[in-house]
């Protein structure tokens, strides 16, 4: 029976969906519920990870320290995980604090072609004896061989697993199969998959990933995550159960956790909006959606046109300022017509 490790980013990716305004009590109540459900890893933090709270990508309602304190207090069986992107997270200021506060699993992320940026952070964390995964974001922007090359870098730096993110929700199952298969054959550490649901494929893509050999799967309660959301955790647990894939997660208790999340801190359940579909089609980071909608309304341009243009310009997370640039260009174009 295949066995997968479930990593639950409800309290991290979901923070994107509420402009990083999850409160301490939300972290507490969900950590307790996920812990009771025996979720192996519970990821917490700002949507863009440790140290990312800023005007550019959004200021967090609570500090990293407060989040980690609350999570640590409420997780007894589950491992406490965080996502971090070198540049946002610094070794001295952020990582040393997270290490000392007892974070168990560190997921060090980079754009899919920039794994080189993670070496120092992964090295530091391995030396501190921590469990470290490498994460390749926006993985649809790289072909399978490039992903293997980048994953090998992560493995050589000390990553104990490599997770690819479908940050734009752009994959169809065959895309996932092709990439996960290449990675499973190309590196020796476990491979993971993080889905987004822009094209309604998050669950199917997660199943495809496991069938291709992935052994780390991300899923959020009610799919709470950026844009159209992630793979819905309680659904994939149920589906995996049907497929005979072992997760160790208690189904009823994760259903309870999802109910709690919906009741307490998901103001609007993720849905596949028109702009989400366009975002997925053009391969643009799901986390841009709220800002695209806001700027489109301010500038009087069609958000779908902004996504189309961002896709052409191959925009990646961290380039939020490009949204305004594109909107202005579109505005000018309109005036010219």
């Amino acid at each position: 029976m295949p066995r997968v490790t479930i990593s639950d980013p409800t309290l991290r990716d979901g923070n994107h969906a509420v402009r990083h305004q999850l409160k301490k009590e939300h972290f507490a109540v969900y950590c307790k519920a996920a812990d009771a459900a025996n979720v192996p890893i519970v990821e917490v933090g700002h949507g863009n990870g440790l140290g990312a709270s800023s005007m550019l990508v959004g200021e967090c309602g609570v500090t990293d320290r407060e989040i980690l304190e609350v999570a640590r207090t409420n997780l007894t069986h589950s491992k406490l995980g965080i996502h971090l992107i070198p540049g946002f997270a610094t070794v001295k200021k952020d990582l040393s604090q997270a290490v000392s506060m007892g974070v168990d699993v560190f997921r060090v992320a980079s754009h899919c072609t920039e794994a080189d940026t993670t070496e120092r952070h992964i090295g530091y964390l391995r030396e501190a004896g921590k469990e470290v995964y490498g994460v390749l974001m926006m993985s649809h922007m790289a072909d399978p061989q490039t992903l293997v090359d980048e994953a090998r870098k992560l493995e050589s730096y000390g990553a104990e697993g490599v997770v690819i993110m479908d940050s734009a929700g752009a994959y169809l199952p065959n895309d996932v199969t092709e990439r996960i298969s290449a990675l499973v054959g190309g590196i020796t550490v476990p491979v993971g998959f993080h889905a987004h649901n822009n094209l309604g494929m998050a669950t199917a893509n997660s199943v495809a990933a496991v069938n291709a050999g992935a052994s780390i799967i991300d899923g959020s309660a009610r799919g709470f995550g950026a844009g159209a959301g992630n793979a819905q955790l309680e659904v994939i647990i149920a589906v995996f159960q049907r497929l005979g894939i072992e997760t160790g997660v208690d189904l009823y208790k994760i259903l309870d956790a999802a109910d709690i999340a919906e009741r307490d801190f998901i103001p609007l359940l993720p849905s596949i909006s028109s702009v989400s579909i366009v975002s997925g089609l053009h391969g643009v980071f799901s986390g841009f959606i709220k800002q695209v909608q806001k700027i489109a309304a301010e500038r009087g341009v069609d958000p779908r046109d902004i996504f189309a243009e961002l896709g052409k310009r191959k925009a990646v997370a961290g380039q939020e300022s490009l949204i305004i640039e594109v909107a202005i260009d579109l505005q000018k174009g309109k005036k010219l017509q």
């Binding site: 066995r3 030396e127 469990e131 050589s156 476990p190 050999g213």
Partner: protein, 352 residues
């Protein structure tokens, strides 16, 4: 570095060279240059040469050439500060000359670190191939050239080891399109260039192909299982083995490695290659358990810490028959003792 550590290392060097002192007299009064001299092997060679000078009055002058030789000299002042040791910051990718009275050369410059293979394969290739080209050019200008030893790599064999380990004349395939093979492939190219220089310029070149080492001077932040296990054990943490631990390796202690290199340099047959490694084969599981036993707090050893890690057994250990028969060399330090010495050295370093 503490005096106690100096004494322990000196003792190891003297034990390793004891049967070979008559052979190593060939080096007496000569000048020896080592490229890549600040690494693990280079540091042990410096320890061994200075032991030969102090205890056997060999009067060997040692030139340590390395990318950061001056930093090495500052870190290990007991070596770098000696009058019989001189250091020069030298990147072998740039052309250079040896001191005109150099008679022996050990070319040990290379980048075995897999992290660099992935991130900067071009530098790895240039260091191996351009580097050996520059070394051979410089050596060809020496009027008293008596011997050059090219430190290659056991990785050039490719494929899987046979039951007795890799022998010097069995070559498997390497996928040259894979960046991860750049080190092995460039070491092959370097050996090929050595063969060309030996043929055209009659430089007496011997090759040695190192496998895995253990001992003081090994940095714990390097990406190899042994280093990771030691780092975690010394840090008081459990030892995590991602696979099932059945992959096999062998670990040669630093003083033995340095001794074998010097014997090969003066006694090896030009054009011939000799494996450099231990015949004491063990699984990664046994290694982790042995390390755990040697650390006071006995850290737990965890296997398959993540599900479905791809279990591929890639054994990597040499046959040492040729070296032992032709060079008459032996190992003097077994793995248990090597680990104990290494752990003791790191503890002393930490307390300095």
């Amino acid at each position: 570095m503490s005096n106690a550590s100096d004494a322990a290392i000196r003792e190891d060097c003297l034990a390793a060279i004891a049967p070979h002192v008559p052979v190593l007299r060939e080096l007496a009064g000569r000048r020896l240059a080592i490229t890549g001299g600040s690494g693990f092997l280079g540091s042990w060679l410096a320890e061994t040469v200075t032991a030969l000078n102090d205890e056997h009055k060999m009067d060997i002058r040692l030139d340590v050439l390395a990318y950061r030789a001056s930093a090495w000299a500052a870190d290990y002042e007991h070596l770098g500060g000696r009058p019989d040791v001189s250091t020069r910051d030298q990147d072998v990718r740039s052309s250079f000359e040896f001191a005109s009275d150099v008679s022996f050369v050990v070319h040990a410059a290379g980048i075995p670190d897999g992290r660099v293979h992935s991130s900067d394969p071009l530098r790895v290739f240039q260091t191996c191939v351009t580097g050996i080209g520059n070394v051979l050019d410089a050596a060809s200008k020496l009027s008293n050239m008596a011997g050059l030893l090219n430190v290659s790599s056991g990785l050039i064999y490719g494929g899987q080891a046979g039951p007795g380990g890799f022998t010097e004349d069995t070559f498997g395939g390497l996928d040259i399109g894979q960046v991860s093979h750049v080190y092995a492939e460039s070491k092959r190219a370097a050996e090929s260039l050595c063969a060309a220089y030996r043929s055209q310029f009659r430089i007496p070149i011997v090759t040695t192909r190192p496998f895995t080492f253990v001992g003081p001077y090994q940095k714990l932040n390097r990406p190899w299982a042994l280093n990771n296990f030691l780092r975690d054990a010394l840090g008081g943490r459990e030892i995590r083995v991602h696979g099932d631990g059945e992959t096999r390796r062998s670990y040669m202690y630093g003083s033995d490695a340095a001794c074998w290199v010097l014997v090969a340099l003066v006694k090896g047959t030009p054009g011939r290659a000799y494996n450099l490694g231990s015949k004491g084969v063990m699984s990664i599981r046994q290694l982790a358990e042995e390390i755990s036993l040697q650390v006071e707090r006995r850290p737990a050893v965890l296997f398959r810490t993540l599900p479905a890690a791809q279990l591929r057994q890639s054994d990597f250990f040499p046959s040492t028959d040729r070296a032992m028969q032709e060079l008459k060399v032996q190992e003097t330090v077994g793995i248990s003792s090597a680990l104990a010495k290494t752990i003791a050295w790191h503890k002393r370093q930490a307390s300095c």
